[in-house]
Amino acid sequence: MITFFFILLLIGSFMCLYRIMVGPIPPDRMVAIDILGILVVGICALFSVKTGKDFYLYISIGWAILAFVGTLALAKFLEGRSFDE
């Protein structure tokens, strides 16, 4: 059953990769990168449920923090201001 969950999340990740490839304007690609980061957090949590080990949740927390900081940096870049303001 949990293999089926992995297959569904993998299909969602490929949808995000499709949007990253064909997205007509740059914000589309940035949104897809954000969503892909959140999906990977869920995939790591499912791995920890499947194996019963909890160190995958460290990867989840680190990936969530890095996705948040990266998306904020992309949004600042899109707004056209410098990072100091």
Binding site: C16, D34, G42, A45, L46, Y58, A64, F68, L72
Partner: protein, 109 residues
């Protein structure tokens, strides 16, 4: 996986995730895509992490899942708001079927 409530919550979360990604592919412009994808994927991932917490209980893994859930619940809407505001300020137009643009009215004043 032994807890049936955890299995149910994880199932609903995965369904929310896949529907949000479907919205990311199908909808017409960047604001609609962000609207569909961010909310449902945030809720789905939070439900997966909460199911992980219910599966592990109050052990070290369960507490880590709870912390990660609260973090995702707080930061993901912030990132989406920053992205939509940045793309609006940067001058990308809305879809022609959109009815209302409050930020443009605010800038026009």
């Amino acid at each position: 996986m032994s807890n049936p409530i955890a299995i149910f919550i994880i199932t609903v979360g995965v369904l929310f995730d896949i529907l949000g990604c479907l919205g990311l592919v199908r909808l017409p412009d960047v604001y609609n895509r962000l609207q569909a994808a961010t909310k449902s994927v945030t809720l789905g991932t939070c439900m997966i992490l909460f199911g992980t917490f219910l599966e592990f209980g109050f052990t070290s893994g369960g507490i880590k899942a709870l912390i990660c859930m609260i973090f995702v619940l707080l930061t993901s809407p912030t990132a989406a708001h920053a992205l939509s505001r940045g793309s609006h300020i940067s001058g990308f137009k809305l879809w022609e079927g959109s009815k209302m643009d409050k930020l443009e009215e605010e800038k026009g004043k």
